[in-house]
């Protein structure tokens, strides 16, 4: 479950325009929500606040009945996939996927099987020894997804994950995202400005504009 209560954010400094102005919504557990809005509407800012990468000016963030507003990013139980995947430039796919497990102190003997399982789940088993420059856009997003999922987050935050791939790859990744959400019973917030993605994926659609949630629709 994701719940935002009256989240506001304005850049530091006098006279700067408010980007988010009292945003509140709740996404039930194990559901797939899509957050839409025009460029500059504050979608990425909102996602960064959810991740703990940016502190809100006011308001509270709840994830699975825990108020996590002041929690560091690594203790919120989230997985984050940015627009271009943001893979670590010098690590192989195997090291990328195992990164979160290493940082959390998971025993070395446990890491390899979990990496293999996560890689298989997103279809990148054959790429484990490759470095990011050798990967296509779709492969990068799959690796980024496996890297986020391997630590078993309860919430997955996707920032325009299909924006930099072709339409055919978008269809493959949309299938993968839907399947992953169902298999892991995970709560997903997917940010996009594509109506096609929103209609193809979202059980719930939220529209952000003027710093507020303008509309909320739930699929029948």
């Amino acid at each position: 479950m994701i719940r935002l209560e009256y989240i506001s954010w304005a850049p530091p400094g006098k006279g700067r325009a408010t980007i988010l102005d009292g945003v509140s919504f709740e996404i039930p557990s194990a559901s797939y929500a899509v957050l839409m809005g025009r460029t500059g509407s504050g979608k990425t800012t909102l996602l960064e606040i959810l991740c703990g990468l940016r502190a809100p000016s006011s308001g509270t963030v709840w994830i699975d009945a825990r108020e996590v507003t002041s929690f560091p990013p690594g203790e919120r139980g989230i997985g984050y996939v940015p627009q271009d995947g943001a893979l670590f430039p010098t690590l192989t796919v195997r090291e990328q996927i195992g990164f979160g497990l290493r940082m959390r102190g998971v025993p070395a003997a446990e890491i390899e099987p979990r990496v293999l399982e996560a890689a298989k789940g997103v279809g990148v088993s054959a790429l484990l020894d490759r470095l990011p420059p050798g990967l296509s856009g779709g492969e990068r997003q799959r690796v980024a997804l496996a890297r986020a999922l391997v630590v078993k987050p309860s919430v997955l935050l996707l920032d325009e994950p299909l924006a930099s791939v072709d339409e055919e790859t978008q269809d493959d990744l949309m299938d993968l995202l839907q399947r992953t959400q169902r298999e892991h019973r995970i709560t997903v917030l997917h940010v996009t400005h594509s109506r096609r993605e929103a209609e193809g994926l979202g059980e719930m659609q939220l529209h952000l504009g003027g710093g507020r949630v303008l509309a909320k629709t739930t699929a029948a």
Binding site: P73, G74, D84, A86, M103
Partner: protein
Amino acid sequence: MISVHRLSPFWITLGLVAAGYLGFWFAMLAATATYTSPGEVMEVLLSREIRYATLLSLVTCTASALLSVAVAVPVGYLMSRRRFPGHAIVDAALDIPIVLPPMVVGICLLIFFQTRAGGLIEQAIPLTYTVGGVIVAQFVIAAAFAIRTMRNVFDHLSPRPEQVALTLGATPAQAFCHVTLPAARGGIFAAASVAWARSLGEFGPILVFAGATRMKTEVLPTSVWLAWSVGELEQGVAVSLLMIAISMIVLVAVKMTGERV
């Protein structure tokens, strides 16, 4: 990269500007090289004093380059990634050694080490008119160039991978060490080479703070000055040619290694 087969007047003009600049440099170097004979050059370069100055230059430049990188990496990262009150003032202050006349830096060093704080440092590590002073004089200026280089390197590295690392449970220090630092290794090499090259050519602050004592604090630029000041032009030219050769060899080697890193 643009193919050489599609040369337009625009690219030809740019090439002419580059060729003109390099041509001017090569003309100066050629004139310098022909000012003296190879025999005289070898005689000067094999002298005990110049061999000592060469070795001291190589050692002190390497030490100051390493010190510069050790400071430039954390400071460059801080200035690139964080905004804090007074950020613009700190940013400008970091550039002061770049714009200040080098001689003034030497005077500032000399005065600082006469103060109570400087005296305490001096008691622990004697620096004024010592080899340590040569390294400090080179470091003070070279570090400013290395910091500027590292800041540009970090500015060009997206912060997103670090942010993802934080969401995966890394601390800011772990994200920096495991994600950002390996990605910046080419830039670190560049910063080290800039600091090294800058240190090799440093003269003013070394002369003021460390002196120009033969077989003690004499580095190659001081050798040129010492020779020039007593009218031994051939010796000054020979040392200048040696400095050009060392610079070329080291910078080309660093560039080739840096491209492979």
